[in-house]
Symmetry: C2
Subunit: 304 residues, 2 copies
Amino acid sequence: MKTVGEIGEVKTIERLVSMLGTCSDLRVGAGDDCAVTHIVGTNEDQVFTTDPLIESVHFLPTDDPIRIGNKAAGRVFSDLAAMGANPQWLLVNVVAPASLEVRALEEIYSGITKLCRQFGATLIGGDLAEGVVLELHLFGTGTLPAGSALLRSGAQVGDCIFTTGKLGGSRAGKHLDFVPCVKEGIFLRESGYVHSMVDLSDGLGSDLRHILRASRVGAQLDSLLIPCVDSIEAALFDGEDFELLFTVASSDVEQLHQKWNQQFETPLHQIGTITKAVELLELRGADGLFQSIEGKGFSHFSGS
Amino acid sequence: MKTVGEIGEVKTIERLVSMLGTCSDLRVGAGDDCAVTHIVGTNEDQVFTTDPLIESVHFLPTDDPIRIGNKAAGRVFSDLAAMGANPQWLLVNVVAPASLEVRALEEIYSGITKLCRQFGATLIGGDLAEGVVLELHLFGTGTLPAGSALLRSGAQVGDCIFTTGKLGGSRAGKHLDFVPCVKEGIFLRESGYVHSMVDLSDGLGSDLRHILRASRVGAQLDSLLIPCVDSIEAALFDGEDFELLFTVASSDVEQLHQKWNQQFETPLHQIGTITKAVELLELRGADGLFQSIEGKGFSHFSGS
């Protein structure tokens, strides 16, 4: 009898996902940033995501509660952004030790509600239970025109790979203060240029693999083009940048840049190309040579 | 600076609820069994609820995982039932120690998905994180015709008070094996007779108070009419019966009984009357005398 620790997070999730349900109104089940369902009787789809935020894993007990709230809501909004969805409803289950100050909990809530107001979402409920460490379990929904969700599975050979911002800054504090790319995600969906998209929560090296696996393609990244806050290692493997990663046909790149620059102040970064070598992820070094990248982003449970 | 343990669950939740958002499509915010939102462009409302299930609080590490899954999903379905809603989508965040057997997690999932199939809901996603004890955080949605949700706030003076089944059996194992009253909730909503409804999760003595507070009324219960599995104390205060508690105008009682008995095999139990003495909850003893009941159902954090 294997334990969760022995087989690791990825394989455990694979086994659980195989047990999830199907339904005619379910357009996309588990395995993307959000599940996508059709809203019967309308031309809209509704997307769903959940995200746990746990003390000493995702934040420290000494972190500012408002920033903890920002991160909790921001992670959910980042998942919604990765589909190109408009944020809608948010609920939060809090697990708290009895020793937690009520004031800290109120500040966490104000971090959450501030981000809700910024992106037109509403915190409508939740629950509170006692536990050993502080945990926030957020549940969020969003909406978008039926059939328009940007999935991990649409990348095509020859696509150019983009990110919306600099990578590898999470350890310097960005993981608590980031602004989720909600507006960018909606813009990219509406542009019609994007073939596939994901948010960067586990690191470029891990999250790009989600696109490669779902789209049955490979990728070549250029280390000189990746916008690094610090080292290329941090950009590839640190995680929690919460920028968007997406692919676009090379023939649309010029128009995309043009429209993007009319809308946003920070530039898009074109960092590589989709190839036909299924699930092979290569990095072009400063010497011009390609090296295969091993997956080693953040993962709960190490696995054996 | 007060801690959550010092001010207790109820007051902490009150302070957090005051921070929740509002929105024109939000019909009923926190403070009922579910939040109720309007589905724009349709004649339907969508209801939302979350529920945490925590090892050593809601179940024991030695409990059968399939029954743990049943309870986790059943609690969410019971909240949906309390509004009269049709279950729709379910997501689950799992927090698990690395030492948990994957097999146990799969059995928990099969307990959840079995109940989903039974009530036409679909488990569409969730997340997995590492933690000290096993926790399941469930998120559920349901639908019903716009404006038809049964709320806690509709009780009227003179209403008869009903429960759907026997109370006080949770300690004998019912809290793990109960079948949520989804069909009963939908029937009661469709009947048009019900003024207010709640599910019995914290005990009759606690949950009836939710109706009294929201409806600005009081209640007299008759101890001889309360259907007890064991003692009247257990029926009033043990919690986790997951039956429905609702109120109906006395002029509709006969017709309700008639229609109920055509549909269901177990009888309704008429246990008391709504009075005008705001928030006063009285119990008529075997001696015919009335005594006021103190609230002492289950609560996280004792409070001071």
